[in-house]
Symmetry: C2
Subunit: 235 residues, 2 copies
Amino acid sequence: MKNTQNIPICDECAMNMKSIFTKLNDEELTELTFEKGCTFFKRNDIIYHEGNRPTGAYCLSKGIVKLYKTGIEGKEQIIRFAKKGDLIGYRSVLSGELSCTTAQVIEDAILCFIPGDILTKFMKENSTFSMEMMQMACKELGDANSFLTDLAQKTVRERLAEVIIYLKREFDIDDENFLRISLTREEIANIVGTATESVIRLLSEFKSDKLIELQGRKIKILNEAKLKKTANVYD
Amino acid sequence: MKNTQNIPICDECAMNMKSIFTKLNDEELTELTFEKGCTFFKRNDIIYHEGNRPTGAYCLSKGIVKLYKTGIEGKEQIIRFAKKGDLIGYRSVLSGELSCTTAQVIEDAILCFIPGDILTKFMKENSTFSMEMMQMACKELGDANSFLTDLAQKTVRERLAEVIIYLKREFDIDDENFLRISLTREEIANIVGTATESVIRLLSEFKSDKLIELQGRKIKILNEAKLKKTANVYD
DNA sequence: CGTGTGATTGACGCCTGTCAACGTCTGTGG
DNA sequence: CCACAGACGTTGACAGGCGTCAATCACACG
């Protein structure tokens, strides 16, 4: 971690319009700025481990983080991603349980650590903030329920197509239609809930079908409509 | 619904020691008692529908309810169950979204309806209550994440064994070791995320292996240790 | 240039979903 | 009281999706 010089004077957690901390008042923001600690993390760095007792949550001011559970024989199942403005690790802090996931950096990130007691304090003293936190948790719960149903009912092919669409929605595409997130085949498999080889085979099928184009880890979406069709999603 | 006479003077929502409403103060309890409405529901009655805008949540004072999402071609995926003391439907009320599940009665139930604005009001005015609600949501989220990982990584056989263990933990067994919940084969399949026929075949395999005993819909656990082993759970 | 990680491809087979037929039980109506 | 319908449970046949194993290739890094 030599890149210490890259750490910004991190007001972003609080100032970033997308973050939950916009619900705090000035006094609380000052306190947050005082209490929080910013750290730079490189790809593959682990932010916290499943099974450990958490001491606080983290707000992502830059980069991408994956949250995963470790299942049978160490195989990881990616639960969700976090990007700029997202809060991670709050679940275990608030429920008083051990961390149920591991958080690992996918794309170099800057994270602000927020001590658990500060978070709890804000929740107790600022009802607008606590309602917002509640909404965040409830939305996440809704997402988990949908994901769960897909895993139980859809084929690997459908889920892979759906994941590609999800990645576009979540991380957007660049001006060449390439997804703005770079994942290994194994990581994709760990979202979809399948074997790496299956992902590889299906991706090249999608390529043959002109749904996508591949350049190493970069995925370009060629035909989103058809992709949605093979994913069985209609919105 | 002729059993109207069975509806109790329902103070249980508030008084039941297991319910979240124990965190309310006397004044709030009085208000809750005034605002809530109790209703009796029979097996198969639908409490609320996925996709509808919810007007409030329900506290279960008796019976069993299943919450499920409807997936491809109408196949239902059971997300979780609710029993005495549990609160359902709060997610969508608080997140401001449409209901993400359908709630249907499995075992004759009495439910207290709590208008959404009362729930919100309590959350805003009583921080102990709101923290408790938050904890509930966070725990549910943790459960969903575990379930999700199992669906992605375990075989149908493992998941079925795990579901039986879960049902024991959640609903307990009677003095003859029979699960205190009665489900159709199809419902079990809709928890496990598989076909009804697969459940039937695997259940009779478990029976041959002396793990369980079957009497119609009743399931008796004979060897929990071995069941846990085939479920791949170690706690 | 060796080493290691990730990507790819092929072979193989089993788990599991689907379809179809049949048995069982319950409630209803003639 | 019997016949019937309908829901649920069971069993068998069958195919194919997908996981596993192994070999090979591509590429980056020290």
